[in-house]
């Protein structure tokens, strides 16, 4: 059986491969993330205490503060950022930040990401063509 392919819209280009880290509830990069540790701190999020550093972050949507942009940019500077971000819905704040820290960002896929991707799956995120390939763990 071949690997699953999803097609989405491109928020920012780039190609990376890596391990998926699925966060099932929306969160924001300000106020509910410790940028210095790359860790989610939202008390309502099941992923609280977990790190997205170097992972391919899969999240239904980002939410909350406008500082999503500046704080994801700060994560980029501190090298605590995810390697790529895949969302069901696109957020202008994450488009802006992903352009400025140069990581692929895609959204509006032909299938629900959370039904298709699990933490630990190997992902080929091709932001140049808007294609995500999932190698199940």
């Amino acid at each position: 059986m071949g690997n699953l392919i999803l097609k989405g819209k491109i928020g920012n280009k780039g190609y990376v491969e890596g391990e998926a880290f699925v966060v099932r509830q929306s969160f924001g990069f300000w106020g509910t993330v410790d940028q210095h540790r790359g860790v989610i701190t939202d008390r309502w999020n099941e992923a609280r205490g977990k790190s997205f550093i170097g992972k391919i972050l899969v999240v239904p949507s980002t939410k909350g503060s406008s500082a999503n942009w500046v704080m994801l940019r700060l994560c980029g500077r501190l090298r605590t950022n995810p390697k790529a971000i895949l969302s069901n819905r696109g957020d202008p704040l994450i488009v802006g930040a992903s352009i400025e820290i140069d990581i692929p960002y895609m959204y509006d896929f032909d299938k629900d990401l959370l039904s298709e991707i699990e933490t630990g799956d190997f992902i080929k995120a091709d932001g140049n063509n808007g294609v995500v390939e999932i190698v199940k763990k």
Partner: protein, 423 residues
């Protein structure tokens, strides 16, 4: 995207590199969301100078200041900026930042002043005369402000970040999302069966609304609310929904300007969910917001978003003749415009005599990394009381504090007795 000759010239670098970069990002942003064109930016609300100090090192701040002066970089539209910076006129020990950090923030403020950005430094610029009008196209940072502008006023803003600065520099913004009628329609209906009577009820309700609408481009329409919404209620609502949710606007049938009837906001867009909020749901939201494990409180935070003059008057009447218990911090976060009026009316004397601090431009839940490393407040405070959902939402995630969410009176009474008691 179809660009005008002027926009193309900016993009080609004819107006300088900084404005070219700003236009490049705005065009990419527009392309990502299928914008057909740019539109003139009628107002921009930029990041806090404090966030600049957080995100950039000393050398970058110094270089930017020099660069902005040398190249005479100026904004092209009315531009204000968000909280926070520490209150520069308050005794330094209250917020406890180091001199070098204060100096860095002052340089960030100087950058903005040089660029022509008004140093409003507030999450509630509408308290300072920065009041857009219906239909104006804005690029706003501060989630509660774009929600307020979209929902309460009928102005138009997407979720803005550095794009606010880029829009201010170019005078342009990409026309997509909340600038278009379609995306302003509701995709979720919230029928409110619970009785909404107080400002804290409004907060609890919009905390729930945010949880129901935590996907970008969600727009809820709320029905069944009989309360007359005050400025402070809308301030609370905007802060609450922006914390727990991703919606850039909300409608309230018969209350907000674009929803005289339900049908006005449910047209082409598919309704994805309908929620009912019962009295029980509202009570659960209250319980959810207050996670403190002890009644003993160490701090009260009011003004998230910043306190209005009506709130200041109420705070004054509650604190008249009272004394805040020793060791308990009370921060009333506001803007100079409100503090000046409070002083004129004698409210400030009463409030300060009781032992509370009225602080301009600040925000206890911002500059958290710096507060943790430079101030004693984060380690000495374990439990706080607040009347604002935005603070209740973010403070535990930022500091691990326990929270009591209650009315202004409950919060201030707890500062006097030392114990939070639900009335």
């Amino acid at each position: 995207m179809e660009l005008t000759r002027e926009e193309k010239e900016i993009l080609d670098g004819k107006m300088g590199k900084d404005i070219q970069y700003a236009m490049e990002i705005l065009v990419k942003l527009g392309e990502a969301f299928d914008a057909k064109r740019m539109t003139d930016c009628d107002g921009a609300h930029l990041y806090s100078p404090g966030l600049y100090a957080f995100a950039f090192n000393d050398e970058e701040v110094n270089n930017t200041l020099e660069h902005v002066k040398k190249e005479k970089i100026r904004v092209k539209t009315l531009a204000s900026c968000c909280a926070c910076v520490p209150d520069m006129e308050a005794p330094r020990e209250i917020e406890g930042f180091s001199d070098s950090y204060i100096n860095k923030i002052q340089k960030c403020m100087e950058i903005y002043k040089e660029m022509g950005v008004l140093l409003t430094i507030s999450c509630a610029p509408y308290l300072q005369g920065i009041l857009p009008t219906k239909g104006e196209h804005l690029e706003y940072t501060e989630s509660s402000d774009w929600i307020f502008a979209n929902s309460v006023i009928g102005a138009r803003s997407n979720r803005g970040g550095f794009s606010a600065q880029y829009a201010a520099l170019t005078g342009k913004l990409p026309e997509f999302g909340m600038h278009l009628d379609y995306w302003r329609q509701a995709n979720k209906i919230i029928n409110v069966e619970a009785k909404i009577k107080t400002n804290t009820d409004v907060g609890a309700l919009f905390f729930l609304a945010g949880k129901y609408c935590d996907q970008t481009w969600d727009v809820p329409v709320l029905t069944g609310i009989n309360k007359t919404m005050s400025l402070e209620d809308f301030k609370q609502a905007s802060g609450a929904i922006s914390s727990s949710g991703a919606a850039a606007m909300f409608h309230m049938v018969g209350i907000t300007p674009e929803a005289p009837q339900l049908q006005a906001v449910i047209k082409e867009r598919k309704i994805e969910n309908t929620f009912n909020v019962t009295q029980n749901d509202l009570q659960n939201a209250y319980n959810d917001l207050s996670n403190a494990t002890t009644e003993d409180i160490d701090m009260v935070v009011l003004g998230c978003p910043h306190v209005s003059i009506a709130e200041m008057k109420e705070i004054c009447s509650i604190l008249e003749g009272k004394t805040i218990k020793g060791g308990i911090r009370v921060w009333i976060q506001t803007v100079p415009e409100v503090k000046m009026r409070a002083k004129q009316m004698g409210y400030l004397d009463v409030i300060e005599r009781a032992g509370a601090n009225v602080l301009n431009n600040t925000c206890a839940i911002m500059l958290v990394h710096e507060r943790k490393t430079q101030s004693t407040m984060p380690s000495e405070v374990k439990t706080i009381a607040t009347n604002q959902v935005k603070c209740a939402y973010f403070a535990p995630a930022q500091y691990d504090w326990g929270i009591w969410y209650g009315t202004t009176r409950e919060c201030l009474d707890s500062a006097v007795t030392g114990k939070f008691q639900k009335k």
